[in-house]
Symmetry: C2
Subunit: 339 residues, 2 copies
DNA sequence: CTGAAAGCGCTTACAG
DNA sequence: CTGAAAGCGCTTACAG
């Protein structure tokens, strides 16, 4: 009794070869280089493929060719919508270059380093984009896998990175506030130790100094709405005469939390305090009041990161333009007003 | 002249075998079943692993074992923050069960069907979670790969799905509005043809009927903020006497767009119109006014989907509880008020 | 243009 | 407890 091969699971290249009456080599060729087989042969192969619904087993192919045509993206926290657009841009650029994208969330196990090491070494991908940056992966991996840092970066690391100009962004925010007559400009920071927090705080302090303003008050935050709420509470508890009249928040989420709390206390933005965010997430323009913020080109950021790894994977020389930070700009909306 | 093997790229199992003076079989065993090799042998192997930074090549292993320990998640649009939490929950459950997660965005090529077919057939994953549902994948694939539908589903499909109770959610919204004295309750729909749109609209209409209210006005939307803005414009252009006094939007984004536009026209929510959303996205509670909405348990949804595929992959029988839709509940906040 | 054969890096019965 | 050997499903020089 013959067994129907289709009952045995997915058809393999041998099944196709048998059906088409050719060798597996020819099947492989017909699929990958149609022009290198006789037209009649090709058609017999294609017919068998159609009939069985055959698809190449990419695991086998990857092992044989030592390429995966896949890029691995390591993200610190998938639950954070901030990454959505970046991931989507990476996926898009990858797709047009024939690469698939694997996304891994390093949060669940909490052990990013182990994860980076495991995933980078295991041959699943040809290159890696790191959206996280707790530690220099070079210190923990020995894979020669092309790797680029995006969003955040590690000081002193030699890894290629794609970044935005955080200092310039913070300065833009402060200058905007100053131009509206504000002189007491506070800052709600990002999480301690983070490069983004550091550079944004630095830009804020520098701008203040350049403008000849006294150093402003600093609220400790961590990019979350909750930390914005906390900062607002502190602000509300401050005697009115001492309150900063403007606040530059290290992230939009934080700014939104800040504004929400201000309103909950029956005070008003921008009447009682002007607020500027950083990121320009989608909701920013729809919030009430619409949030004045520093726009981050997240699509371009993701796209550039993808282009960079792909170039590295292909052994092409880096584009000199990639070294310069992506520009940011201020989007003036309704959360800031003349003092 | 001998060549340093480490210079040749990633070390393989043969390198370790040579270094430890054992066979590759023993290396493999020492790594996968430490208890099946002599302790001294194991230590020699481990030393070689340490020294070289060796990691198993998962592509080779997957080919050999015919398992990938990976789940593929197909999402319609990574740029949509709505999926973030779901993805993160999937990743978490997968991780605790020893599975990795591959996320693919079907948007870039626009050809979801081709993508589903290619990815499901190519041996990269042991199972699939589909967050999209344009068409029944059974009609296009012949892989016997375990597959579960999440978020949306396809009418008439026999695929296992995890869903929430959309009809009940919509009813909750309408009943809440009615309890506040509203009788003219409109609806902004989701995109036409979508199951979620259909069931939510159905729940709205049914609740109205049950409560003995006249059928309300229906604005055509598509879940986006923009469509909420459009609906609001139409509402604003309606003579005041004919305006619905309450609006149930098919999504939070849409509701937020609606409210934003109302305020831009110098009208107020909930003073001039009460608004209820659907989803309970993170921003909902921080919006001004905080949005009354139907809470969707996105974490549980993702977690259940992951549990389901994993069970299928393991050949375990389905949990009967998985057939019942996940419950939703109304979160009363500030966008709805007594008429 | 086509086929036989080797080999990608592993794991696992099967002997010993 | 350990090793030799087969094989997972492909692709690609190498002959013919």
């Amino acid at each position: 009794m013959k067994i129907d091969p289709r009952a045995l699971g997915k058809p393999t290249i041998s099944d196709i070869a048998r059906l088409a009456g050719v060798s597996t080599a020819t099947v492989s060729r017909a699929l990958a280089h149609p022009d290198r087989v006789q037209i009649a042969t090709r058609e017999r192969v294609m017919a068998a493929v159609q009939q069985t619904g055959y698809t190449v087993n990419s695991v086998a192919r990857n092992l044989r060719t030592q390429r995966t045509n896949a890029i691995l993206v390591l993200t610190p926290n998938l639950a954070n919508p901030f990454f959505s657009l970046i991931l989507s841009a990476i996926t898009k650029v990858a797709a047009t270059n024939g690469f698939g994208v694997l996304i891994a969330d390093t949060a669940p196990q909490g052990d990013r380093d182990a994860e980076v090491m495991r995933l980078s070494g295991d041959g699943r991908a040809d290159g890696i984009i790191l959206l996280d940056s707790a530690q220099d992966p070079l210190s923990i991996t020995r894979t020669g896998l092309p790797m680029v840092l995006a969003c955040e970066w590690i000081e002193g690391s030699t890894l290629p990175k794609v970044a935005i100009d955080n200092i310039a962004g913070a300065k833009l925010a402060v200058e905007h506030l100053a131009s509206l007559g504000h002189t007491k400009i506070a800052h709600v920071t990002g999480p301690a130790g983070n490069v983004l927090s550091k550079t944004r705080a630095q830009g804020w302090a520098e701008a203040l100094r350049t403008l000849g303003l006294t150093p402003g008050h600093c609220y400790t935050g961590d990019f979350t709405m909750k930390s914005g709420v906390e900062a607002a509470k502190t602000w509300i508890d401050t005697p009115q005469a001492q309150r900063p009249t403007a606040v530059f928040c290290a992230s939009d989420e934080c700014a939104l939390g800040f504004i929400g709390e201000i309103h909950r206390a029956s005070l008003r933005v921008p009447t009682d305090v002007s607020v500027v965010g950083f990121d320009d997430i989608e909701i920013a323009g729809h919030f009430i009041p619409a949030l004045t913020t520093i726009h981050q080109p997240r699509q371009r950021l993701g796209a550039r990161a993808a282009e960079m790894v792909i170039r590295m994977i292909r052994g092409q020389s880096p584009d000199p333009g990639d070294a310069t930070p992506l520009p940011v700009n201020l989007v003036k909306r309704d959360s800031t007003a003349q003092l």
